[in-house]
């Protein structure tokens, strides 16, 4: 019973893959790791347009939008998702944007300027991702 009463702090994360690459192993592993860290992970599957992802983020009222791209199109796709989210009032001030994939450091810097608070590349520990989320979600403006 204690489990079902109040769970105001339950963190909800959207894990999505924009673009056309179908390599969803990484996204699924991250989804599973965040679940095991006690979070509720909404997984939307592959080949999502920026609008589809933003729409899911809106309806599910998530704290975190975590994106994965392995095709190299991250500089193109990630900012478009952020923009589609912004159009719906979902901004880096109230939602954490995370990027994942094979992303060079200089690209990661560019992405951070567009609203991503962190980028996780190959070799990132799933535990670190969960820890990062837990540390930064309380800083969001959820009023």
């Amino acid at each position: 019973m204690s489990n079902t009463s109040t769970m105001t702090d339950q963190i909800r994360v959207l894990v999505a893959k924009p673009g056309l690459d179908g390599h969803d192993r990484g996204a699924k592993i991250v989804a599973r790791a965040l679940r095991d860290a006690g979070m509720e992970v909404i997984y939307t599957g592959i080949r999502q347009t920026p609008d589809m992802i933003a729409e899911a983020a809106l309806q599910e009222d998530v704290h975190v939008v975590a994106l994965s791209v392995l095709s190299g199109a991250h500089l193109e796709l990630f900012p478009r998702v952020v923009n589609a989210c912004r159009e719906r009032g979902i901004t880096p001030e109230n939602t954490l944007f995370l990027g994942g994939g094979i992303i060079p450091d200089e690209d990661a810097d560019t992405l951070k300027e567009t609203g991503f608070s962190a980028v996780f590349g190959p070799g990132a520990h799933t535990g670190d991702i969960a820890e990062y989320v837990r540390a930064h979600v309380p800083e969001l403006d959820r009023s």
Binding site: N3, T6, M7, Q10, R35, G38, I42, Y43, Q59, E60
Partner: protein
């Protein structure tokens, strides 16, 4: 015998909540999403919003979908949503997946089968984790449905956790319950012993392009013929949800059931029963919360000592504990 009333007083919200309520009623989807989060988490603001919105609910048609994991509930839900949209009705979807009993985390993956609905702003999908509830729904499912209803959704589809044999809460939560079966789901005894068979108003045999579909259909029909007469014979409908086959028949079956509920007067009695169940569940949760408060735990510890030392007995102690809550 005194008559009790529970008329809701002061449904006026103030300040930011009033503003959010207005945005929700103006069909602001983001406001709806936030209110649903509060309602789901048992937040005080959610309770106040629900109190204000509740009088506006009661107009939507509710259809529940249940069945074992992998039977195709999400895909069937997706097909039904499309069919209702084609009629010009707006659709809300509540999709429930299980929480881990160990970490309380969850993967909510029902949306994967519904991506074609994302571009339609008249479809609102909300994924819920069961958060420890055992009946195939989550504790807040009814409240989430009430809010979607008040928002103005015409049809609300409720997809349960992949359910086996006795997760039957959906029957109390929705007006029409669809049980999604597939061919070759084990021998007939599995179906025969399932409490879930008794709650179905409509049976869908999904993936009916697979071998064994005919046998499944006739087995279900034979089993249904043994059910006590409820004034409604649940139809068995063959569908292939991934191809959109049979969706029209399924919608027709739901319509027929709804019409029967209306003409027989059972729509009202079912609504009363739903209200009864929700009051009971909430009251039970409240009592448990009070009993397990700091004060309640202290009294429990004292009573436990009395019972252990034989100065009291368990039944008397339980009565004392409850009376003082």
């Amino acid at each position: 015998m005194t008559t009790e009333t529970a008329r809701t007083t002061n449904t006026q919200l103030s300040g930011r909540l009033a503003e959010l309520e207005q945005r929700l009623l103006d069909k602001d989807r983001r406001a709806l999403a936030r209110v649903l989060s509060w309602v789901e988490s048992g937040d005080q603001r959610g309770r106040e919003m629900l109190r204000a919105l509740y009088p506006r609910s009661g107009r939507a048609r509710t259809i529940g979908l249940t069945g074992s994991p992998g039977a195709g509930k999400s895909t069937v839900t997706n097909e039904l949503a499309k069919a209702f949209r084609q009629r010009g009705q707006s659709v809300g979807i509540v999709a429930i997946d299980p929480s881990s009993p160990y970490t309380m985390g969850a993967i909510l993956g029902d949306r994967v089968r519904m991506t074609e609905l994302y571009s339609d702003s008249d479809v609102f999908i909300r994924s819920l984790a069961s958060r420890g509830a055992l009946g195939g729904l989550s504790a807040a499912t009814q409240d989430v449905v009430h809010v979607l209803d008040a928002y103005g959704k015409d049809v609300i589809l409720i997809e349960t956790v992949g359910a086996g044999q006795d997760e039957v809460d959906i029957a109390g939560a929705a007006q029409t319950t669809i049980l999604v079966n597939t061919p070759n789901m084990g021998d007939e005894v599995q179906t025969l012993k399932a409490g879930i068979m008794e709650i179905a108003d409509v049976l869908a045999v999904n993936k009916s392009d697979l071998p064994g579909a005919d046998r499944m259909v006739s087995a279900l029909k034979a089993l249904l013929s043994l059910n006590p007469d409820r004034g409604w014979d649940p139809p068995v409908v063959r569908v292939v949800a991934t191809q959109g086959e049979g969706t029209d028949k399924l919608v027709n079956a739901c319509d027929a059931h709804f019409e029967e509920l209306q003409s027989s007067g059972r729509l009202e009695t079912a609504e009363l029963e739903r209200a009864r169940q929700q009051i009971t569940a909430l009251a039970r949760a409240n009592v448990l919360r009070q009993l397990h408060s700091a004060d309640g735990e202290e009294r429990l510890a004292r009573l436990a000592r009395d019972v252990a030392s034989r100065t009291s007995d368990p039944h008397s102690a339980a009565a004392v504990w409850l009376a003082g809550s």
